[in-house]
Amino acid sequence: MGSKAAALRLHVASALAAHVASPFVYRDRPTVETVPAGIGPVDVLTGGFPRGSLTEIYGPVCSGRTSLLISALASRTAASEVCALVDARDAFDPASAEAAGVKLKHLLWVRCRSVDQALRSTDLLIQGGGFGLIALDFGDTPAQAVRYVPLQVWFRFRRAVESTPTVLVVLEQESNAKSCASLVLQLRMQEVRWSQAYGAAGKNPLHHSPGYLLEGSKSHAEMIRSRAKREGDRLIQQEVFMHSGSNGVEFETEVIPGMHSLKGGPGQR
């Protein structure tokens, strides 16, 4: 069967040789338009978050998921785009987000109390259109609750955003969107950085010196899937998901100076 198909392909290719060089090869695949995630190593790894697609960021708590999301929001709002954050558990901290560079005036924040509210709000926002980035934050929602979200919801989201310039980012503890996501990133925490050496007091130290200060954390981001394939200086769309376990980078995030005494209001910093 396979050899017959190959022979047929060869016959068609030879018949069209005078007109088309390689009739079974896609000559012009659509270019994937991406936006920077705001964290250099992640941008280098992924090429940025694709527009008109669903991007999934997942990992356990403290893995740097929110930092990556906030960086992406800061990047988009810095480019004067309007973004929306659907916060399924009302966990967004405006003070630290503003300190991280998010223009709060460009951010529409939807504070939900349930998964259902978050999904309906996201649906309405996608239908409304015009947003540069829509983030659906299930970061604190129990993984079991998000697991119950029917697959057709993710398919609907994917279909709804695919012809728009909107980046749809979903933050979760586990990957749920399956093949509906064009880019899937898994994050995990590598280490927490303190102002003094972590290992100085042994393997399981109790660092109770008053001199310890939180400096930041180091996270590992692994690209689980991507629909984009790098070709020269551009990303092109490919039908088959890339699946590799060696696509990982480490990135560091730094604690915001004066984190314990952040104050809002114009002209305060």
């Binding site: 939180l214 995030t253 314990h260 305060q268």
Partner: protein, 536 residues
């Protein structure tokens, strides 16, 4: 100078028909007066053909089969008059509010905008019919002639300069609005038309009819000369509707609101304006006042009993009636009136419509009108106060912020994005820090901490137990001691290694990692520990 006049014949009837257009098809009579002395004050052509006469009592009129009777509505007449003024202001800035059914416009310079005078007349008549008022339009060289011609001639009439006397000649004397005694006198003389009246000598007329005779004589010849008494344009638009039967459900109320909004938006469009805010006011059935009071206390304290009020502040001026109806419906769904509606009042504050120039290389923004609808729909799902733009306030109290109404920025400050680029623009990357973000627990989670030498060593919260690996703190903050709700807290950043729970499952499987970086605080005033949030 040239003037135009718009006259709405049978004004009382047209004011009612404007809100109930279905009545055009049947014989209609308006009745007025105190029962039982109600009499017919206006009738349409079909009613006249059926034999109904003005002045007939309501009891007599009720004997005509198929005759629809409606009470005269001064409210609708007031609104119809406002509509008439709006039609005038849509064409000329200088108009005179002559009577309730007549306005006069100054046409100076309008031929450059609308073409010939006949075209201006046609334009006025068309606008008038679009607003539900079928009117006569007359154009002449003086104010009084145009007013009289509009009352006397049907349709559009253009009187050339110095032809006033000739044109008005065929009209009956009654169009000059003489007093009853003068009409009787002229009738005895056999003077029935303006031409016959204009032929009378002025001096003798003055001797017999006095100053009124002289004034009417000048009117009949089209020889008066006076300037317009200019009316000031209003920026508030109001539409009202009284209901015969109170409406309980939202759907039929929406239907009526839609009709009023259509009329309101047509008036706004006629003036090239849009609604900046919309105020809806319902007068409710008195039987339900008690039930309403409970609701009014929580939602609309300012409203008097039996009245429901709600205001829709629009981020940009809108005059799309469908859009306004959707927004209004969503608002009414979230805070319903709570009793049957017997009167609807819609009031719009006007503003200039938004004019923006888009750009191919500018970032896309949500369409402000669509965004407002999206926000209203989401607010219906999550609650009014749970959607908006966060704004920090001038306070060191942890977690202090306020939600503001989200307004899409209309101007694009940034440059256009580069399509299809892999690497982000350099400037964009530099402007963003890789900062550690924080997730807040709302409300804070109560926790139990074990201290050793005044420093945390073990924690327990939400069924999780862990050992503190690294602790940084305390960060002491306090404030608002002058208020009733002061705060004083010691904050700690704790890196925690979680232990396996007693049921054998490990912490990671329960949705928590083995390690975590949390912020705890000790509320000094309450003497308790809480988890504020998590670094993520």
């Amino acid at each position: 100078m040239r003037f135009a006049s718009i006259f709405v014949p049978n004004f009382m009837l047209q004011a009612v028909l404007r809100t109930e257009p279905a009545l055009c098809e049947c014989a209609l009579a308006l009745v007025d007066g105190n029962p039982p002395l109600c009499s017919v004050v206006a009738i349409n052509e079909k009613a006249a053909r059926a034999g109904v006469e003005l002045g007939m009592t309501k009891m007599n009129a009720a004997q005509f089969a198929g005759l629809q009777m409606r009470p005269r509505s001064q409210l609708q007449e007031k609104i119809a008059h406002a509509v008439l003024l709006d039609i005038g202001w849509a064409v000329s800035p200088r108009i005179e509010d002559t009577t309730q059914d007549t306005i006069v416009l100054d046409l100076s310079g309008l031929t450059h905008l609308f073409g010939e005078e006949k075209d201006i007349g046609a334009h006025l008549a068309q606008r008038s019919s679009e607003c539900g008022l079928f009117s006569n339009v007359a154009i002449a060289s003086n104010v009084d002639t145009t007013r009289i011609a509009a009352r006397g001639f049907k349709g559009i009439t253009v009187i050339p300069p110095r032809q006033e006397s000739k044109c008005l000649g065929e009209l009956p004397v009654s169009v000059l609005c003489p007093s009853v005694e003068t009409v009787e006198t002229l009738s005895r003389w056999g003077v029935h038309t303006c031409a016959a009246f204009a032929d009378l000598p002025v001096l003798q007329l003055s001797e017999r009819l006095g100053q009124e005779g002289v004034r009417l004589h000048a009117l009949a010849r089209g020889a008066t000369s006076r300037s317009l008494a200019i009316a000031e344009p209003s920026h508030s638009f109001e539409e009202e509707m009284e209901l015969d039967d109170p409406v309980e459900e939202l759907d039929p109320a929406s239907f009526l609101l839609g009709r009023l909004l259509d009329q309101l938006c047509a008036r706004l469009a006629a003036r090239s304006l849009a609604a900046a805010s919309l105020r809806v006011r319902f007068e409710l059935q008195p039987f339900f006042e008690n039930a309403l009071d409970v609701h009014a206390e929580t939602v609309h304290r300012a409203s008097p009993p039996g009245v429901y009020e709600n205001e829709l502040q629009l981020p940009i001026p809108v005059r799309d009636s469908k859009m306004l109806l959707k927004l209004l419906r969503l608002r009414l769904q979230s805070s319903p009136p709570g009793a049957p509606i017997r009167k609807i009042v819609l009031q719009a504050e006007s503003a200039r419509p938004r004019a923006t120039q888009g750009g191919l290389f500018l970032p896309s923004f949500p369409d402000p009108e669509k965004l407002e609808l999206t926000i209203a729909r989401i607010a219906n799902v999550v609650g009014e106060g749970n959607i908006g733009s966060p704004s920090l306030i001038d306070s060191y109290r942890p977690g202090e912020f306020q939600m503001r109404r989200f307004l899409a920025p209309l101007e694009a400050a940034g440059a256009g994005r580069k399509r299809g680029s892999v690497a982000p623009p350099e400037g964009e990357q530099k402007s963003v820090q890789s900062s550690m973000s924080f997730r807040i627990f709302r409300p804070p989670v109560p926790a139990t901490l074990e201290l050793h030498a005044e420093r945390p060593v073990r924690v327990a919260f939400q069924g999780l137990r862990g050992q503190v690996l690294t602790a940084s703190g305390p960060w002491r903050t306090s404030g608002d001691w002058w208020r009733e709700d002061p705060w004083q807290q010691d904050e700690w950043d704790l890196e925690i290694h979680f232990q396996s729970p007693s049921n054998g499952r490990n912490a990671g499987a329960a949705g928590h990692p083995d390690c975590g970086l949390y912020r705890f605080y000790y509320d000094v005033l309450r003497g308790s520990w809480f988890v504020r949030g998590i670094y993520d």
